[in-house]
Subunit: 402 residues, 3 copies
């Protein structure tokens, strides 16, 4: 490996890492963000599926200054946006696209967006990802709370990562890890560091996100986090279904209340539908582990999202089954909180505090269910968690928006 | 031509274009914005006036990241700002400058401006162009409408073009076309695409703008557009005059009302004058074609702006004859709307709707009138349109600002 | 020198300068901002201490697009941020750091900050400098004034310099000058140009700031300026003291009132302390020259800040002795104004006007006091200015914030 390492020496971060990990600094303060790529061939790795990781920059329009990191596991092409909170833009498995078609066609550089515009809805000018982080200082609908306008879903998706490191394990199965660090900082206001990590491996059609929030302040602070995980066609279709082990489910608002009976089934695209949202308290196993599944009508394919209710105690199901053009998309959203303005969530106990110097970990596993058998197994796991705990259906919303 | 093409092969977009057009992608997502130029000599074109097109980047201050495209027709040097809505910064014909002297001396990158600042007047921090696009979601004075703060004159001038293509016709007269595409997009809010095109030709002292607005949404939406076309000295001077075929003219507000009698004549620069604005419903010919002229006191030189009242039914005349330092400038502004806040224009029927998937074309032709004869001819054309339709002068403003 | 000049010819600005000054354009509109450096060796200068000036760019996160200019006098390393109002980020003299530890760890590019966010406190998202300029259109706490939200401390620190020129005197002592030009411009609102200059020389542990504000408008305008000069450990410590010749001192608010008796002594770091601020009218000598000193508990080391009360008639002492993590920092702030919102300072006569075409100079000299003797001498100078003018202590704040 030494020869190969020297070829790409400029990118190697640290010799002090485990001998079996090769680390490459893709983004760092003293290094211009540049086109770059590496492959199993370049690394002399031939004992498994081929893989490749590349970085490219985008130019023109509101994309100017944006960067994309593409991880090709051989079986899946994952695209990460370091300039937008290390969000996952999309995943492609053969002909199957995970993600959705937002009317926002550009990968928008945060420098071009004023989150306070449109009455605090500026976030919508860049929203088009498969996984968009919401938080960490706050999330939810825009509105005043304690004298500040909280903008939709916080800043996380608009924080560019300042340090991005790719690690590839020299040893089979050659785990691929992409770490990116976000700062959410303002003097006297907040001092959060978010260490994000996405891991996958050659041949995989799954990936894991592991975020660690650190409160670097010596004052405790409120925080909120939600993983806005969005899926459109082809997984989403009329008759597609959602499953999760439910402790309690309730409609987000009066509108959602009307369709509560069918909250787990999706409609086809309908212009003008807008959205309905359901608030779920999921059930976890003894360690808090829980699972959500979205699958197509015939239960032939789906996506499984594993998370832990000790980290992310609530779950929003966002049914935005509007037209394909406006946005036909389902959001699977494990979080600390629902999507109400923060001011409405304190009474629900959904605005947690992180102590001075404290850390919080959030681990999510996204996995393609490529077959009827895989869907069946995942649904069985959910049924097992549900077993003995009949779901409580609450008819009315937990909070009332103004 | 093949040899020449291969020299600049990296820039050629498509072989599939008409055989007689050479296309160069100046700005594209996968191509860093770079210094570039091409001339008739490089193209081996020698059957007409020399010409040159070049792109350069600006650095430092609020110009960092801005780009300029300069089209030299041999007779006129046109400067276009792709990073500011494909606005036309200025045109120079020999010693004659078309444009004006704004106190804003930089070509401001939209990334550095918060349009909501200064109570919604942030737009003024970058305003210095000969032609500044206003719209397309809204335009007019800042203020609340339907729960959102609409900022002055919308976003068009603050949308960087994401795709810019230069086309030069191989055949005489070697038409030069510069196309740039703007996106005005926000999930659930707006999905507009604006295809802009500026055309001119070697030897010309005129240019045409052709914008096509496409509502890519499957919902109809309101839109507004106005072409803020601005001329200072030397065309503008004390005694300079404005002409247009008038169906109805009215003062924008009480201030303008006082000078209504002289609405077509310009004062010399006067510190503290501020501005007066007149709202005109122009007359078009059978196809809607209309014409506005601004000429100097002695009617020796002028500018003609042709537009179509079926596309742009109203016209604002902005008489900002303040000091040279603060801004001595006249705005000729064909539009769908006047400059009131959108909330005041619905009742005037000046907030049109564009249907789902619909398109709207806006074509404007700017032409130097280089001689007394040319001025005379243009004024005659206006008189012909006016003939038989005595202008109605309305003494009071159409709307009342708060 | 001719040979050396030709080596770096691309950077030389003007031959028309005094024959003994070498000028290098580090930032200019037609020149990409690039890594660059120059040293006494390169210049063939060997008759004094070695020195070096370098420019580097930062990448990633909110630093993307930021630049740093580092001036190493041999005795002191000064870091200037051209992309943030030519602020001085920090100074290092051997092991002694001048500056402070802000929770804001990045050198934030203004493109990523919305000054209106957090109710007008967006400025805090980038605040971490040794010297942060406040002004020039306004400064002070956020709040409405004359129909506009004035954001904290104005825009100066968020104005990137558009022209930066380094000058090195060929003749001993080889004075080093770094000039940067800021524009604060908006059509119909403001047309300020600020020529900043930082000067030092090889071997020095001092530097001078000389700003010239020019009102390029032909209308008079209000302005305000304050030099937020910030020092943390090690100079700041429990028992550290502040001295200035006082005509009148008063507490900024009720909170500061409680600790008025000890206003010149600093506490150790205390989590949750927040801040106290004292408003001082300093005494100057016959020419207006005045002096402020901050020194450590044992009066072994300190910093002297010389300024002129004819230029900067008031002085704020900001005692932010919170925890090291949240910000343990003292601000020495000569200015035209205190830190109240502008709306509260007109009645105090602290919102000066600058006439059309007028200029105002602000000269500040920062000097390390490296020894007990140096501290003693500076304190003696202050005592001399105070002599015969007993300080007036006003028990109540000059203004009341809402």
């Amino acid at each position: 490996m030494i020869t190969v390492r020297s070829l790409i020496a400029g990118c190697i971060v640290a010799a002090a890492l485990p001998a079996h990990a090769m680390d490459y600094a893709l983004i760092a303060p003293d290094k211009p963000v540049q086109e770059w790529s590496i492959s199993n061939d370049q690394l002399g790795i031939h004992d498994g599926p081929p893989f490749k990781v590349s970085l490219r920059r985008l130019s023109g329009g509101r994309q100017e200054g944006s960067a994309l990191i593409e991880i090709d596991t051989g079986a899946m092409q994952l695209t990460v946006v370091p300039t937008r909170g290390m969000n996952v833009l999309r995943a492609q498995v053969g002909a199957l696209r995970l993600g959705w078609d937002s009317p926002v066609s550009e990968v928008v550089n945060p420098a071009f967006v004023n989150l306070e515009s449109r009455g605090g809805l500026g976030w919508l000018e860049g929203f088009n990802e498969l996984v968009a982080r919401c938080g960490f200082e706050w999330l939810g609908h825009p509105g005043e709370d304690r004298g500040e306008l909280l903008t939709l879903h916080g800043r996380a998706s608009y924080l560019p990562a300042h340090t991005v490191v790719l690690s590839i394990d020299e040893r089979a199965p050659h785990r691929i890890s992409l770490k990116g660090v976000l700062n959410e900082q303002a003097f006297k206001k907040v001092d959060f560091r978010i260490d994000t990590e996405l891991t996958t491996e050659p041949g995989a059609t799954a990936f894991t996100l592991h975020d660690r929030l650190t409160n670097q302040s010596d004052q405790p602070g409120e925080y909120q986090v939600l993983y806005h995980s969005n899926f459109g066609a082809p997984l989403l279709e009329e008759g597609a279904r959602f499953a999760i082990p439910v402790r309690e489910v309730s409609p987000f608002n009066a509108r959602a209340q009307q369709e509560l009976a069918n909250w787990q089934t999706f409609r086809g695209p309908a212009a003008g539908y807008g959205e309905t949202v359901y608030n779920v308290y999921p059930i976890g196993d003894g360690t808090g582990q829980s699972l959500a599944v979205l699958h197509d009508k015939r239960a032939q394919r789906g996506i499984a999202l594993a998370f832990n209710v000790k980290q992310l105690p609530v779950f929003s199901l966002w049914k935005n089954t509007d037209s394909q053009t406006t946005g036909y998309v389902a959001g699977l959203e494990p979080g600390t909180s629902f999507s109400y303005n923060r001011s409405l969530q304190r009474d629900l106990g959904l605005v947690p505090t992180i102590e001075a110097g404290g850390t919080r970990d959030f681990i999510l596993h996204y996995r393609l269910l490529p077959s009827a058998a895989a869907v069946r197994t995942a649904l069985h796991d959910i049924a097992t968690l549900q077993h003995g705990h009949p779901p409580k259906v609450r008819q009315t919303p937990l909070a009332q928006e103004h």
